[in-house]
């Protein structure tokens, strides 16, 4: 259904341009503006969304005409991808594919093609994955969940994520795979690959009845998408387990509220109910964790977070930010290892789950 709708929406754009030409009107596109001046904070979803401002790409403007032509070319290209159902294309690939479009349409640098993709996303209010443009696959999912998807040959495949070695990589097909069955009651998203592997080896998924997700640093959009779907479709609470520093917290917050850069599709990616589990600033004190000194950049980031409308009313966060600032120190997830391999699953996580009233710990 989404697929057909996407194709129709793309066709409509093409038709409007043809109609303009037919009427000897200068063809133009109206696109939601993506600049910061058009960012609006959506209190209900507590994330940034685009406001009502639009920009016009006019065929009568010398500075617009190239982008207009490229927009239409990329849109037509993507429409064929959607209809073909077989292929996904990374942004980098699209940039190179454009080499074959001739000197007037090809992109000279990748930011140019990225920009057009974002314009199309904004026009459709859909993430680029819907038009088969994907980020580099990053992140993995592990645990007792069964997924159903079609492979590029069009064959239906079913897989349980426990039947993988290190988890199922989250690419375009995984992100949109159908959830067939799971007995998990929560999702733990982990910042570093090291801690993700630790939890698998310490059998955390069984112990906490959880699905484990490796974010691999800042989460890719596919990863954010699957987290949102797990939360929305399966009603699983999501716990964000990151480093104890403002950047770790920011990683958590992007999953929760979306990023400014993807404001035009935040509604499709953000998981507002997700909860920041830690490692918190208080944890540093409580567990006497090994720390590093904060850099100027960290301090600056904390001050930004203190004033961010998304976090202003979150008392727990604000308290932690103040503690960090007072400490001037930060710590990594792995610092918990000072108490041995099992400490995380036997002591640290259970305490957190109790604190956050997680399923099975109420």
């Amino acid at each position: 259904m989404t697929k057909k709708a996407t194709v129709e929406e793309l066709k409509t754009i093409g038709k409007s341009v043809l109609t303009d030409i037919k009427n000897v009107d200068i063809p133009k596109l109206v696109i939601p503006m993506r600049s910061t001046s058009n960012l609006v904070f959506d209190k209900n979803n507590s994330c940034y969304v685009l406001g009502n401002k639009t920009l016009i790409r006019s065929g009568g403007n010398i500075r617009h005409i190239k982008k207009l032509a490229q927009f239409l070319k990329v849109a037509a290209f993507c429409k064929d991808l959607v209809k073909g159902e077989k292929r996904h294309v990374t942004k980098r690939e699209l940039y190179y594919i454009s080499e074959s479009w001739g000197p007037n349409l090809k992109f000279n640098e990748q930011p140019e093609s990225d920009d057009i993709i974002e314009d199309i996303e904004a026009s459709l209010s859909k993430p680029s994955e819907d038009i088969k443009i994907i980020p580099n696959p990053k992140g993995a999912i592990y645990g007792n969940i069964t997924l159903r998807f079609k492979n590029p040959k069009g064959e239906t495949m079913v897989i349980n994520c426990l039947n993988t070695a290190d988890g199922q990589q989250i690419g375009p097909r995984t992100a949109e795979a159908e959830f067939v069955k799971t007995d998990a009651d929560k999702v733990i998203a982990i910042e570093t690959g090291g801690m993700y592997n630790r939890l698998i080896e310490e059998n955390a998924h069984e112990k906490f009845n959880a699905i484990l997700i490796n974010l691999g640093g800042q989460a890719s959009r596919s990863t954010r998408r699957i987290i949102k779907r797990l939360n929305e479709e399966l009603k699983l609470p999501v716990y964000l387990f990151v480093d104890s520093d403002p950047f770790g917290m920011h990683i958590a917050m992007v999953i929760k509220s979306g990023s400014a850069k993807s404001a035009h599709i935040n509604k499709r990616l953000a998981t507002p109910p997700a909860q920041w589990l830690g490692v918190t600033a208080s944890d540093i004190i409580q567990y006497k964790l090994k720390t590093d000194k904060m850099r100027d950049l960290d301090i600056k980031r904390i001050k930004e977070l203190q004033n961010d409308p998304r976090y202003k009313n979150n008392k727990r966060l604000q308290k932690e930010l103040t503690i960090w600032l007072k400490l001037g120190k930060k710590a990594e997830q792995q610092a918990l290892l000072k108490y041995g391999f099992k400490f995380v699953v036997e002591k640290y996580l259970p305490e957190k789950f109790r604190e956050l009233k997680a399923p099975g710990f109420r």
Binding site: G14, V17, L18, I21, L72, K73, K79
Partner: protein, 528 residues
């Protein structure tokens, strides 16, 4: 070398001759410093004489120049005109006597001021080849052609006629004219010298037709672009501010005036009784003093008085410029591919008591874009081909900020661009940097006038360049639209899954609409 051998031979034979010896030793001063230039000087003297003769007689000049390479570095130079011809008994004096003629003593705009005289050419010919000059001249259809072969007897500075006869010969279709033939040592170069000189002469004398037969068989015809002769320049007396000591001494010696006051009144311009008395007062000389009784100190005092006195500027109607319209026509003829031509004749002005007038022509769109502009200098319609980097013209051009006028310029160098700049100075007395008379002295008054004239033309040029750039910009913009519209149509059709068959015509209309819009935007931009 033949030239040296002959010169030495002559020197040995005639140890006492001052004129020939002077000439031999000072060849470079007179412009004979290398074989290429020597050949040019011979042609130049012949052509200048022909132009002068035709102009004075009110005849539109037809001039034919032939160069024939008779052996190695020996050339036979012939110059034929349709002038009034020369009276039989004048011919030997004109060609066989150095410093003969009226030009030297008078003050008026003339070509001859810059040359060495045709007789010097005769002397050069006999020094380098030993051959006499041959002259054919006819004054009217009724008379026969006078034919002369003559040398210069350099001891006496008198003509030595070798052959003289009156003959029936069909050399002058107009019934009158003069033909001279000289054998000289020299070198012909295609790219510079004679050819360039004749071309530039034709530019500055658009009323003349000049035909050139080059030694390599090439024939060039510079046809008339104007069918009217310029008005004849008037002679004027020197102005008290423009006089030099030597000239003043000579004038005092030759004058018939009885008193210094009448000498001043009669032989200088802008001096009346009142001014004459004023000069005497300033010089502390009795106004009744006879010019014959002047001591050296008296002359110096008089000169100072003349320089200090406040008198009117000299009369300015003694000048005969090419004319702005005529120069333009001429340049249009010589540069048919030029994109634009701007010309200007300034009002006459005065430097050091000498009237002068500056004319400028700008030819744009010829030559290489990335090389320096070509400057063509003229003094009293005569091209100045040497010392291109020196003098008032180059000085003035370098001191103009050319970027303002749409040309490239680095520092105070000559600007670069596809342009020829013509500068003509007409004056009763053109001041030259040196005796070879190839660059105009850098007097501030002259530089100022040149600068003003060039800048005025450059402003018109700028307007043209702006328009051109505007048109280019519009074309470039429209071209972008023309490139993209088919692509937009193609992608939109692919996107909409519709055939674009019937959209060709609306698209043409659309492009026209946009072209119009671009023009309007451009106008707005250049108006604001």
């Amino acid at each position: 070398m033949n030239e040296e051998k002959n010169a030495e031979y002559f020197a040995k034979q005639q140890k006492e001759i001052s004129v020939s010896e002077f000439f031999e030793k000072n060849k470079h001063l007179l412009g004979f410093d290398n074989p290429t230039k020597a050949l040019l000087m011979i042609v130049k003297e012949g052509v200048d004489n022909s132009l002068d003769a035709c102009e004075e007689a009110g005849i539109l000049p037809n001039i034919e120049v032939k160069l024939k390479n008779i052996k190695n570095n020996i050339f036979r130079v012939s110059v034929k005109d349709n002038g009034p011809g020369i009276v039989k008994n004048q011919i030997p004096k004109i060609f066989g006597k150095l410093l003969y003629g009226s030009k030297f003593h008078r003050l008026r705009q003339s070509r001859g001021q810059q040359g060495i005289g045709i007789s010097a050419a005769v002397l050069y010919a006999q020094l380098t080849t030993g051959n006499p000059i041959k002259i054919w001249s006819r004054t009217s259809k009724k008379s026969k052609v006078h034919y002369f072969e003559l040398f210069i007897d350099s001891t006496k500075n008198e003509p030595e006629v070798v052959k003289e006869e009156s003959i029936e010969i069909k050399k002058f279709p107009a019934g009158h004219g003069t033909l001279i033939e000289l054998d000289v040592s020299g070198r012909y170069r295609k790219s510079q010298g004679v050819k360039e000189y004749l071309k530039e002469t034709a530019i500055a004398n658009p009323f003349a037709k000049i035909v050139f037969h080059a030694p390599d068989g090439e024939k060039m015809v510079f046809s008339r672009s104007v069918d009217r002769l310029p008005k004849q320049p008037k002679e004027i007396n020197p102005h008290p501010h423009g006089i030099e000591l030597g000239v003043l001494i000579r004038m005092l010696k030759n004058t018939k005036a009885k008193t210094v006051a009448s000498f001043l009144k009669n032989e200088f311009s802008s001096v009346g009784t009142k001014s004459a008395n004023e000069i005497c007062k300033l010089a502390k000389i009795k106004k009744t003093l006879s010019p014959k009784k002047f001591t050296r100190a008296d002359v110096e005092n008089l000169l100072r008085g003349m320089q200090q006195v406040n008198v009117q500027r000299p009369p300015l109607d003694c000048l005969s410029p090419i004319g702005s319209k005529e120069l333009k026509k001429s340049l249009e003829k010589h540069y048919p591919d030029a994109e634009t031509i701007v010309t200007l004749t300034r009002e006459p002005s005065v430097y050091r008591g000498n009237p002068f007038q500056i004319e400028v022509g700008i030819v744009y769109g010829v030559g290489k874009k990335e090389s320096q502009i070509k400057i063509m200098r003229f003094a009293n319609r005569v091209p100045l081909l040497y010392q291109a980097g020196a003098g008032a013209v180059v000085e003035a051009v370098k001191n103009i900020g050319w970027k303002r006028y749409g040309l490239q310029q680095s520092g105070n160098n000559l600007p670069t661009g596809p342009m020829v700049l013509v500068v003509h100075m007409a004056s009763s007395w053109v001041p030259f940097i040196s005796e070879s008379k190839e660059a105009i002295s850098t007097y501030p008054d002259i530089i100022k006038e040149i600068k003003l004239a060039v800048q005025t033309c450059a402003r018109d040029l700028k307007i043209f360049i702006n328009k051109k750039q505007k048109a280019k910009r519009e074309e470039k913009r429209l071209h972008i639209f023309e490139n993209y519209f088919p692509l937009i149509l193609e992608s939109a059709s692919q996107l909409a899954e519709e055939e674009p068959n019937d959209l060709k015509a609306p698209m043409e209309l659309l492009l026209k609409k946009i072209g119009k819009k671009i023009g309007e935007e451009n106008d707005k931009k250049s108006n604001s």
